[in-house]
Structures are given as structure tokens and as C-alpha cells.
Symmetry: C2
């Protein structure tokens, strides 16, 4: 298992409720891929959302986000953390 | 005060020690701008570093990173967090 940071673009105007619903959708399906989404941060102005997860691979992170209805292309392994 | 996520590029090959030293450099000067750097995540392969901070403005985040020797252009306010 490793840490990953993924980045969604084009989410301009996202609300707290929408972010929360998206996170719940991830949590509902993440076990299928042995992923856990830990945190998320959103900038409604630029439409950027960052998600921090623990997962077996970047592919697994992508699969969960796709199943939850918000596919992502940009997934970075972040082995170094502070 | 608000939360900010900033993103550094071009840090390919960054080591745990270098990330830690950079973070310590931020902590040493952040009080001047009333900023606090809370977390950082690095992907040595793509050379991307994400820093999460609490700060009065994006400008203050930029000033601290510049003073610490690693200026950044990309700073996003992230008012929504999970």
C-alpha cells in the first residue's frame, strides 16, 4: 500500500455538499479495490480538487474514482510525506 | 486565516531528507507572515511537491516559500476540506 495524491480539474463552483457527496461515493465503493480515500481539498474558484488516498496502485485509485462517477487522469504516488 | 494547497514542480529525485529540510526552512520563517505549513507530500518521480498550509493569503504563502529558498507560483485556496 502507498499514498497517492490525485487531482481533478474542471470542478468550478463545487460546493461543500457536492464535495462531501463525491467523497461518500468514493467510500461506498473503495473497498472493492482496497483503496481508502483519507482527505480531500477543493478550490471552487479554479475548479481543482485534491484527494489523498492509501491504495495498492494508481490504477486502483483511478478505478474507484471512475466507479464513483468522477474519473481522474492525474494520480501521483507520494511516497514522501511530512 | 484559510487553507491553501501549493504545488511545486521540477523537484525530480527529491529525497525524504531534502523534503524534510525544505519543510524545516519554511517553519523557521513562516511566523513572519503568520503562515503555518502543516503537511507536505512529494512525488520524486514526477518532481511534484504539494504543501498544505494555513495562512492569511496566497501572497503570504508565496512569501514564506520564497524566503525559505523554494519559490512557488501555484497556490490554491482550498476552502472546502474533508
Amino acid at each position: 500500500m502507498a499514498k497517492f495524491m490525485d487531482v481533478h480539474h474542471g470542478m468550478k463552483g463545487i460546493t461543500a455538499e457536492q464535495l462531501s457527496a463525491a467523497h461518500r461515493a468514493d467510500l461506498a465503493v473503495e473497498a472493492k479495490e482496497k483503496v481508502h480515500f483519507e482527505r480531500a481539498w477543493a478550490d471552487p474558484q479554479s475548479g481543482t480538487v485534491y484527494c489523498l488516498s492509501e491504495a495498492p496502485s494508481a490504477e486502483a485509485v483511478k478505478k474507484v474514482h471512475a466507479m464513483a462517477g468522477h474519473p481522474v487522469e492525474e494520480v501521483h504516488p507520494v511516497p514522501l510525506t511530512i
